[in-house]
Symmetry: C2
Subunit: 365 residues, 2 copies
């Protein structure tokens, strides 16, 4: 299990440069590091200084690098899916379709990247994985996927089970739907390895994201007003997918008082300009990534006081919408809806109040 | 029907600034213009100079602007889907799920944006729509979606029809699957409006993308080596989804001989630096967007000579993979696979040769 670091910020703020410096610094500290870049263009190799490929390669002591390629990852995932299908489905229907012919639809890039990171993470090969993604909403959607998917499964499972359609097709897709929907068809779900496997993967993803010692993001910005506005927005939006933001990296500018108050209580590290191949000054300017857990947690639940506190910096009251329908509480902000899975003690309880205070939305039951 | 323009390039090259200038210029020429921005952060409103929202609003003469918001678009799409379901499905199963509770999964942002653009395009409200998307692979995946989806439908339709599963569930999902898979269950597909509607939407999307007078992209770059490498890569990748690239916009730099040869035969327009609210010099530097059709077409099929020519600039022979399996020819490049729908005369014919010449991959049958 590795520590997974990623960087959020507006394009052109030097996000990839910072990510490389972070990877180099972690490697210099003795960690076995993987730098995984999502940008498929040759610009990434130019910046790293070595031609990258779809397989991890050593680029320095303790430091591997890989350029994630969706066509390669999809082909691999498809072959695995076909093997699963052949194992569990009575009459496999996918065997005549080849991975080499599949094109990439929107969303596949990040879903495949998340799966690749999960695989790199699951071995004991790396202590730190630096994921250099789009650094925007797309990276947040990706990291929020386990939680969002598990909500969709939970919600539609019952809808599906109650339907005529669900009752009819069960004999045909039993093991597959057991895996996907975590539905106990046979009364003995633990005998179905596919079911366990799928729900374990989603649960592990959720657990990793909820632990800032496992997954943390850092904001990258310059002094430009648009870059600061984007960083603040991504800071708030990250909380909506349950991602802890550990600090701010200010690229090639001096910290101002206004910036310090904008991003409080996060600390701001100033990153110097890179000159040629001289990475040392950038590496030394990196924060201590093991301290990400000191940053505010996205969600805190106090069962005794019947309170749920959501850290939602950069949003004001008007930009946050709270709804309760049935057993769920939904929070909308930063163009994402978060369905909060309440502990048993609060489940089904009516919301009695909600106030916005010091960047926290405090919901009382 | 509007002309749809979009801009591709590395983050930080001033893509959104160029997109705004293009929208202003088209409006100044008397076109009714919609500027549609994908960036959900307040940085977009800062740049436009007016607080934007999820509904188009007039921001100048002939110029509307909208900030696409996935949560709003998903809620709307969900209510429509429920209405369709109630109309066509015997026992609707989605009615108990509300749009207000749905979170956003990877890929939804661009799929919803494409649908929103389609709707804005279908009225007679706008002559030009400027889509300011991520400007990278994500925008290409989005515009390639009608073609990719229609391939997936085509390919899996037969697989599904041949399966036991397909035969069993048909009575239950007949009208829905007719719409999605374009499958003639009843022998009278034309009596099913949903089927026509879905296939019409996909076909219209494909037709629009194939016509450079309807959809065209422009590259935005600075003189930075990484920015140029990204622009070149996106130029080649755009061809893979069938998107015509009309020209290059060089931001705040002078054109060099090397750049001219890099991007030949495209013309390069130099865009001056913006000072404050002075957009006029940028607007005047814009190319004539009505001339996008003069740029090389992504694909040319010559039935008489039995040749298919694919324009694939920026890639070399090693980066392009050609495979033929069954009736399909698949071209892999730029982290996308393109399955070429051949005309009847060439369908099923064996590939007899392929050569790479002057940025073209020429396939002989």
């Amino acid at each position: 299990m590795a520590r997974i670091l990623t960087f959020l910020g507006k394009g052109g703020t030097g996000r990839t440069t910072v990510a490389i410096a972070a990877a180099k610094q972690c490697a210099a500290q003795g960690n076995r590091v993987l730098f995984a870049g999502q940008d498929p263009s040759p610009a990434l190799s130019l910046l790293v200084g070595v031609p990258l490929s779809a397989e991890p390669q050593s680029i320095a002591t303790n430091l591997d690098a890989v350029q994630l390629q969706s066509t390669v990852l999809l082909e691999r995932a498809w072959e695995e899916l076909k093997q699963q299908e052949a194992k569990y489905l009575r009459t496999p229907i996918l065997k005549s379709v080849y991975g080499q012919e599949l094109s990439i639809l929107p969303g596949m890039d990040t879903a495949l990247a998340l799966n690749a990171i999960r695989e790199y993470d699951s071995g004991d090969r790396y202590d730190v994985i630096v994921y250099d993604g789009n650094g925007d909403q797309a990276t947040l959607r990706m990291l929020g996927m386990p939680e969002t998917l598990s909500w969709y499964f939970r919600r539609f499972r019952q809808v599906f089970l109650d339907s005529d359609l669900g009752k009819t097709i069960s004999p045909f897709i039993q093991p597959i739907s057991a895996a996907v929907l975590n539905v106990n068809w046979s009364g003995d779900i633990f005998s179905q390895p596919a079911a366990n496997q799928a729900s374990t993967i989603v649960d592990q993803g959720k657990a990793a994201l909820a632990d800032p010692n496992r997954v943390a993001a850092y904001l990258v910005t310059t002094a430009d007003a648009g870059a600061i506005a984007t960083a603040k927005y991504l800071w708030g939006s990250a909380q909506q997918v349950g991602l802890t933001v550990g600090g701010v990296l200010l690229n090639q500018s001096e910290t101002t008082e206004g910036m310090r108050s904008d991003f409080a209580p996060l600390s701001i590290n100033t990153i110097p300009t890179r000159s040629g191949d001289e990475w040392q000054p950038l590496m030394q300017a990196m924060p201590d990534f093991t301290k990400a857990a000191q940053a505010p947690k996205p969600i805190t639940i106090n069962v005794a006081e019947r309170k749920v506190s959501l850290f939602l910096p950069s949003f004001d009251k008007k930009q946050v919408k709270l709804t309760q329908s049935g057993p769920e509480v939904t929070v909308e902000a930063g163009d994402q809806r978060r369905n909060i899975a309440l502990p048993p003690e609060l489940r089904g309880k009516q919301v009695t109040g909600a106030k916005f205070q010091d960047n926290y939305l405090i919901i009382s039951f």
